[in-house]
Amino acid sequence: MSTKTTGRKIVINPVTRVEGHGKVTILLDEKGNVQQTRFHIIEFRGFERFVQGRFYWEAPTIVQRLCGICPVSHHLCAAKATDVIVGAKTLTPTAEKMRRLMHYGQTLQSHALHFFHLCSPDLLFGFDAPVEQRNVIGVIKADPETAKKAVLLRKYGQEIIKATAGKKVHGTGAIPGGINKNLSIEERDVFLKDIDTILEWSIEAMELCKKIVKEKLEFFLKFGAFDSNHLSIVRKDGCLDLYDGLLRAKTADGKIIFDMVKPEDYLDYIAEEVRPWSYMKFPFIRSLGKEKGWYRVGPLARINNCDFIDTPLAEKERQELMSLTGGKPINASMAYHWTRMIEMLHSAEKIKDLLNDPDLQGTNLITQGTKQKRGVAWIEAPRGTLFHHYEINDNDQIVLANLIVSTTNNNEPMNQVVNVLAKDYLQGKSEITEGLLNTIEVGIRAYDPCLSCATHALGQMPLQVQIMNHEGKVVNELIRG
C-alpha cells in the first residue's frame, strides 16, 4: 500500500471527562472509503495498584469506587473473591440470598436506566431526529406515563440496593464470607407492596421494546450486526444466572468453545492483548487466538449462551426471541436492547421470589473456613462478565489484583460495531452529518459501555468532531455541546 495516501481522519470526541471517556476516530482515504476505525476508551485503571498493600476485607468497599455506574457489581464480585480467601465455600442461605437481592436490584435499576434514559430516545425517535427531541426530555414529553414508570423502576432498584448494601451508592453490605445485615420484616413489606407493579411495568417495558423493534425488524437485525463469539457464566445446569456460575463460551453459530470453567482457572482460557493505541486491553479466548478469539459479553451473550431461564415470564420471552434464529445465537448489536429487557423482567421475577423467601430474615450471616492466598471470582454485571482476582500475603495484604471489567470484555465488539457502521453509513460520503455520527453513537450505546459519555442522553453529549488529513491537519471541525 502506498504511504502517500491522503487520508482524512474523523474524530468523534466527547468533551466531558468524568469517569473515563471515549473517542471515535475514523480514517478515510482520499475517496472517502473507510480505511480504519478505532474506538478509544480512556479508562482509569489505577485501582489495581490502589488496592495493593490494602487488606483483603477492604477490597469490596474500595474497588466499587472503580465505577460510579455499577459499583454494586464490583462490590459483590470483590466480596465473592474474598469469600474464597476466607475459605467460605458455601455461604449461608441468608447471605447468598441477600447478595442476590442486591444484585437483582442493581440489574433492574441499571437496565431500566439504560433502556428508558439512554436508548429509548434512539429507538423511539430514530437516529436522525432533531437533537431537541432525541433525548430523555423528548421521551418525557412524548410519553410522560412511561417516563414516570422508568424513574420509579430505577428508584425501586436503588431502594433494594440501600436495604441490602446500606447505601444506594458505595454500600458495605457484602463482606468476606457473607453479609452484614438481613432484611427486616418492615423493610421486606415495603418492597412486597410494590413488587407486582414493578413486575407489571417490566412487562410493559418488554412489550414496548419488542413493539419498536418488530416494526423495523429487518433494519434492527442488520444495523451494526457482525458475527462474534459469546461469553458468559451460566448455572451448572445451563440456566441463566447473573450472580454465580461457571464460564461458557459459544461461537457465532452456537458451538460450545468451552464450558463449565471454574473461576480459579480463568487464566487458562482468557488472555488480554495490549494494543499500543488503546489504554483498554482486548481480552480473547486463548484457544482461538487474538484474531478470532474476541467475544461479546452482556445481556445478548448471556441470553445466547444459557439453555433456559428459571423464571417463567423471562423464559417465555427468551424462547420468542430465540425463535427468530431457530435457537442459534443472535449476532445483531441492537438485540442487546431486547435481551436487556428480558433480563430486567427476570430480575423483577427474581426479586419477587426472594422477597417471599423467609431466609432473608435469617440471622446466620457469615461463613469462615481455611484461609487461602488467592481468590478469583466473577459475576454477570449489567454490562457483562466481570472478573476479580486477588492474591494476598501472610499479613492479609493484597499483593496482586487483576480485574477484567465488562466494558473491557466488550472492547473489540464496540470497535467492530464502529467499523461496520462506518462502512455501511459513511462510505463514499464527503459530508459528515450529525445523523451519521449519531448512528455510530447509537451502535456503541447498544453495548452500554460504562463511560461517562455513554451516560449522557444522546443529543446532549458534547461532541467535538474533527476531520483531519493524513498530515494530521484539521481540515474541518464540528463542535456540538
Partner: protein, 238 residues
Amino acid sequence: MSTNVVTFTIDGVEVKSAPDKTIIQAADDAGIYIPRLCYLKDLPPGGHCRVCTVKVNGRPVNSCTYPVAEGIVVENDTEELNSFRRNIIEMLFVEGNHFCPSCEVAGKCELQALAYRLGLLTPQMPYLYAQKELDATHPDVYLDRNRCVLCGRCVRASIHLDKKNVFGFENRGINMRISVNSNDGLKDTDLTKDDKAMSVCPTGCLVVKRQGYLTPVGKRLYDKKPIGSEIETKTVKS
C-alpha cells in the same frame, strides 16, 4: 459555701463540680459536650490536640488539663472556638491520608464524626499526600499511620492500662510519627488484640484485623446521633 464544691459557668450555664476536676470532666458530668480528640475518660489527659480548647475568663486553655475554679467564666460552644476546632480537624485531615467512604472505621471514627459535628464537609487546605507507613506485620492487628492523628491515646493506654510500653512518639513537628517498641514492627512487640490499647484509637489507625464492615451502615455508632450526644443526653448530676 462548701469547700468541696466549686461553682462556675459554661456558656452561661451554672455548673457545680468537685474542686479536683478538670473543666472537661466537670462539663461531662454536667451533660455539656466539649469537643475533644486526645482526651479519653479512663486515661490521664495528654493535652496534645487542642480540640478541647475553651476560653476561661477570656483566655484560651485546654479544658482537658485545666482545673475548675470557683467563679470562672468558661466559653465553649461559640463560633470562634468552633471555627478554631474546625481548623485543627481540617489540618489533621490534610496531613494524613483519609478516604472515609472506603475506610473500615467510617461511621464510628471520632475524627470523621467531629468533622460532621463541626460542619467540615470538604477540606479547603491543600492535601500533603505524605508517605506514611502501614505496619501489617502483627497477625491480629494493624497500625495504619495514614490515619493516625497523633493523639497518643494508644501510648497512654499501653502504659497505664496494659502496663506495657508498646507505643511512643518519634521525631518532631510535621515528621512526628507513632513508633512501636521493636525494630521489626508490631509483630515483635508484646501487644495483643485484647489489650486495652486496642480499643482507644479514635480513628482507623490502630485496628483489630478481619473485623471490618461488620456493622451495617445505619447501625454504626455515629450514624444516627452526632458525636457528643452520648454526653449531652446524660442526666445532669445535681
